[in-house]
Amino acid sequence: MDIFLQQVLNGLTLGGIYSLVALGLTLVYGILHVPNFAHGAFYMVGAFVALKLMTGWEVNYWIAMIGAAGVVAVIGALSERLVFRPLRNHSGLHPMIAAIGLLLFLEAGAQALWGADFLRMPTPFSGIIEVAGITAPVQRLMIIAGAFTLMAALQIFLTRTVAGSTIVAMAQNRDGASLVGIDANRVAMLTFGISGALAAVAATLYAPINLVYPAMGHLVITKAFVIIILGGMGSVPGAIVGGLIIGFAESFGAYYISTDYKDIISFVLLVVILSLRPQGLFTNGAR
């Protein structure tokens, strides 16, 4: 039973991080209909910026997280402006290829600036809490609390504020949104900014129990894609539910099947689901 609860805790941790990354991806997809392959690089840059702020400038963990979110938000907004906006009327292959160009550039840039080594991020929360037989590292609890707070905040932003509503409006109907005077360019940049900030926060939360290196985004981003296919591309609740499904599948799979193959579980899930429902699990009708 303890082991079971331990896996629940792990599942929530992983799920929270995956959901945050997938949320950014799904927001951008909802607005621009581009699978942003560079999103994993945003995640990686976020981790590096936070780490460098903490080790180089000796900044507090939370300030480093905000700093990383800010930097990556700017990178995100800039990439919308410089890379994706000129391609808005090209469909299909071209934006995807441009996204890969961006990914390659950011990864090579990180490697040139910070080296290819595996780095460890310090954290102020190194303690362990023991409740009813489950040991819970404080960092993991922080991740869960942080991720779900941010998701709630995003939900409030999207539903209760004007800026958030413009994003939702544009995701629902682009032409309709421009008819009522919504500036598509501004909304797209805003969305990319938020998407980058979410990735950076996720990376800063997760990095202390993992490692920081230039290719760290690869697995996370592929999983985030699995999640948004599971949850329906462009759907916000879908990304959260999908993230939790994958998080739990992995933590239980690692325990009951094999640690070696835990990374493959989510992909196998995807293959099975797409063989049965090519349009994704929660999408109805053709997209």
Binding site: L93, L102, L274
Partner: protein, 342 residues
């Protein structure tokens, strides 16, 4: 439209240049670089068939190359199968692995297809890394035998290996041009330009897409097997995303949907990288933005743009007036049409 490239002159020149290369190369190092470039050119030709001609952006191509390479490596090293038998089997196994994946992935539209293949590439990488009893895990496979002699032809010097790889490249290009010019190739292009329309005209979408996918994967498999016989060492990195991205880059720089374009891209970029020695590791600092620039400003790539201009001039001359339709047709050629729906 391909009249110019069909002109035997350009291809003949390339053919002769390739034959003479060992006499001009000066040292073995240049031969090695060129032979590696040829191997990746073969794989890129295959990638271009599914992506450039059929319009499905495949990100698992390096994975299929790795399947071919590992089949050869495992068969020759662990089971002591003779090189050429293992080589043939590498092609067979790659297609066998590709068929079910193709069946799943080709039912997916546009972005779903690309994301799915990205995941498939990652699975292949992880499986190669973790399935140690079969693939030797991260240690990799060492001591892969060199290609064994065929009759009087032995492949024990860099020059002879070069010609072997060159032979496969020439054969691959020749086959690809046959495929592209055949009814089947035209059908692939019809699918790229509008799959619903093609279906309405009686094209069996699934069968043709699966055909394109299998052929594409077959090129990757043989390229992988050649790679294994050439480098004689294999590690999981071969399946990694960076090789898939490399091939994408070759294809885009040269031009999607032409035979010559990806070929030139695959031959040109490694040399640029060689001359930017200091940049080796950071080559993507330059090539990343180049890729973005090309996609935005030269969406048809170098050869594609050239072909389009030739075609326009030719049709202008023939009609004696502007032919505006050509330009827009070309644009939708390169772009996939699912924008509105996906």
């Amino acid at each position: 439209m391909m009249k110019f490239l069909e002109g035997k002159f350009g291809w003949g020149l390339l053919l002769v240049a390739g034959l003479l290369f060992p006499f001009m190369a000066g040292n073995d190092y240049h031969l090695t670089v060129m032979s590696t470039a040829y191997i990746f050119a073969i794989a890129t030709l295959g990638l271009n068939l599914i992506t450039g001609y059929t319009g499905q952006f495949n990100l698992a191509h390096a994975g299929f190359m790795a399947v071919g390479a590992y089949t050869l490596g495992i068969l020759t090293v662990d089971y002591e199968v003779s090189f050429w038998l293992a080589f043939l089997l590498a092609g067979v196994v790659t297609v066998l692995v590709g068929l079910p994946l193709g069946w799943v992935s080709l039912r997916l539209r546009g972005h779903y297809f690309s994301i799915f293949t990205l995941c498939v590439g990652t699975i292949m990488f992880l499986v190669i890394e973790k399935w140690e009893s079969l693939t030797h895990g991260t240690v990799g496979i060492m001591g892969i035998p060199a290609p064994t002699a065929i009759g009087p032809l032995s492949f024990d010097t860099p020059v002879s290996i070069y010609y072997l790889v060159y032979f496969f490249l020439v054969f691959g290009v020749w086959m690809m041009r046959r495929i592209v010019d055949s009814l089947m190739g035209r059908t692939f292009m019809a699918i790229r330009n509008g799959d619903e329309l093609a279906e309405a005209l009686g094209v069996n979408l699934m069968r043709n897409k699966l055909m394109a996918f299998s052929l594409s994967v077959l090129y990757a498999g043989f390229a992988g097997a050649l790679y294994a016989g050439f480098v004689r060492f294999l590690g999981p990195d071969l399946a990694g995303a960076s090789h898939a991205f490399d091939m994408t880059m070759y294809m885009i720089i040269g031009g999607l949907g032409t035979v010559l374009g990806p070929l030139l891209g695959a031959l040109m970029v490694p040399w640029l990288t060689q001359y930017l020695q200091a940049l080796q590791e950071f080559r993507f600092l330059i090539f990343g933005p180049v890729l973005i620039f090309l996609v935005i400003f030269v969406p048809n790539g170098i050869v594609g743009t050239w072909v389009a201009r030739r075609a326009r001039q030719a049709s202008d001359a023939a009609l004696g007036k502007q032919a505006p339709a050509k330009d827009t047709a070309k644009k939708s050629d390169a772009a996939q049409k699912e924008s509105a729906r996906a």
